[in-house]
């Protein structure tokens, strides 16, 4: 019996860790809560860039999907530190930025999925989302 209690305690601990990782708003009913019943079709993808150490414009590529098997959506050179795209949700986006550092070329790659979350509030489906996702394309120190 003592053993079973200890094992149960351990399993509950693991379950707590697991459930704490997911955001759940199920089974609530708050009529005062603002509920967006329309899911957004498009949200922003923000690219954050470093200054190129060589002072040249940075070559940026923006893909729908992954870099190696996705679709190249845009390709440009820039001196800006941020760039924005308004893109459809529920897609993965990948961006690359090419820097020149002391004779070496460093290609910074980052990717994320643009999504919204839904939950039930008093039998209504509500949507929640971040205004943008940020792809950090800055050079690591």
């Amino acid at each position: 019996m003592k053993n079973l209690i200890k094992v149960a305690f351990f399993i509950i601990g693991i379950a707590l860790i697991n459930t704490s990782c997911s955001k759940s708003k199920n089974d609530i009913c708050d009529t005062n809560k603002i509920c967006y019943t329309q899911a957004p079709d498009e949200l922003y993808v923000k690219l954050e860039l470093s200054t190129n150490p060589s002072s040249d414009p940075i070559e940026v590529k923006f893909y729908i999907g992954n870099m190696d098997n996705g679709e190249l959506y845009d390709h440009f050179y820039t001196l800006n530190s941020t760039e924005y795209y308004l893109m459809p949700v529920n897609e993965r986006y990948t961006a690359t930025a090419k820097y020149f550092v002391e004779g070496d070329t460093i290609l910074v790659i980052n990717s994320d999925r643009l999504t919204n979350n839904s939950y039930k509030n008093c039998d209504e489906t509500c949507y929640d989302w971040d205004d943008e996702i940020v792809l950090n394309l800055k050079l690591a120190k």
């Binding site: 200890k6 351990f10 707590l16 860790i17 790659i109 980052n110 990717s111 690591a140």
Partner: protein, 202 residues
């Protein structure tokens, strides 16, 4: 923020498990024992949870499998993973590097043998252990569809094992995690093992 919260929760649970399982009576008079002596075959089902880490990396490690208490060895199937993305650099060719965000995973069969040299009145034991993880390692990368740095490898280690009663054990030691290409291979290994043992009261 969520990651930090999860880390804090995990550490809290680990400490609660530790202090609820570890009895103070362990501090009773110890008796020296032959570390190579074995008893009769006592196979049990066990679970383990732990981590290996150094100043450059941190991986959780979960496992389940056979805990043999008579011969003091265990054979478990383990899964280890880095719970966050780490920025790393690939050398793709001369003068071309890729800076990417990496997570790593390893699935392994863990073989562990323990050599207890001190036994306490309540049958708690203190000793050394040696471990060998035979596993498959790989890295996943943001923006790349394919995994990289896939490798079958051996990860040896060893350290101190403290078996409280006959159903739990805490191990702390060293692990040579050389499969991980973008972090220092020398890591600390902390592990809590629990096993179902109906013979505890005997």
């Amino acid at each position: 923020m969520q990651l930090k919260k999860n880390h804090r929760l995990f550490l809290s649970l680990l400490f609660i498990c530790f202090f609820s399982i570890s009895p103070l009576r362990t501090l009773s008079q110890p008796i020296g024992t032959n570390p190579f002596a074995v008893s009769y075959f006592q196979p049990k089902f066990g679970l383990n949870v732990g981590a290996f880490f150094n100043h450059q990396d941190f991986l959780f490690d979960f496992g389940l499998g056979l805990e043999e208490l008579g011969y003091d060895f265990s054979v478990t199937f383990n899964g280890s993973f880095r719970p966050y993305y780490k920025t790393v650099h690939f050398k793709e060719s001369d003068h071309l590097f890729w800076q990417v965000e990496e997570k790593v995973v390893q699935f392994s069969i863990d073989l562990e043998k323990r050599f207890f040299f001190l036994e306490f009145a309540n049958r708690s034991k203190l000793g050394l252990y040696g471990i060998l993880k035979a596993g498959y390692f790989f890295g996943t990368y943001k923006g790349l569809s394919k995994n990289r740095n896939q490798e079958f490898g051996l990860t040896p280690g060893g350290g101190i094992a403290w078996q409280f009663s006959k159903m739990s054990r805490l191990s702390f030691g060293y692990l040579y995690f050389n499969q991980n290409p973008y972090a220092h291979p020398h890591t600390f290994n902390l592990k809590l093992s629990l096993y179902i043992n109906k013979d505890e009261q005997q």
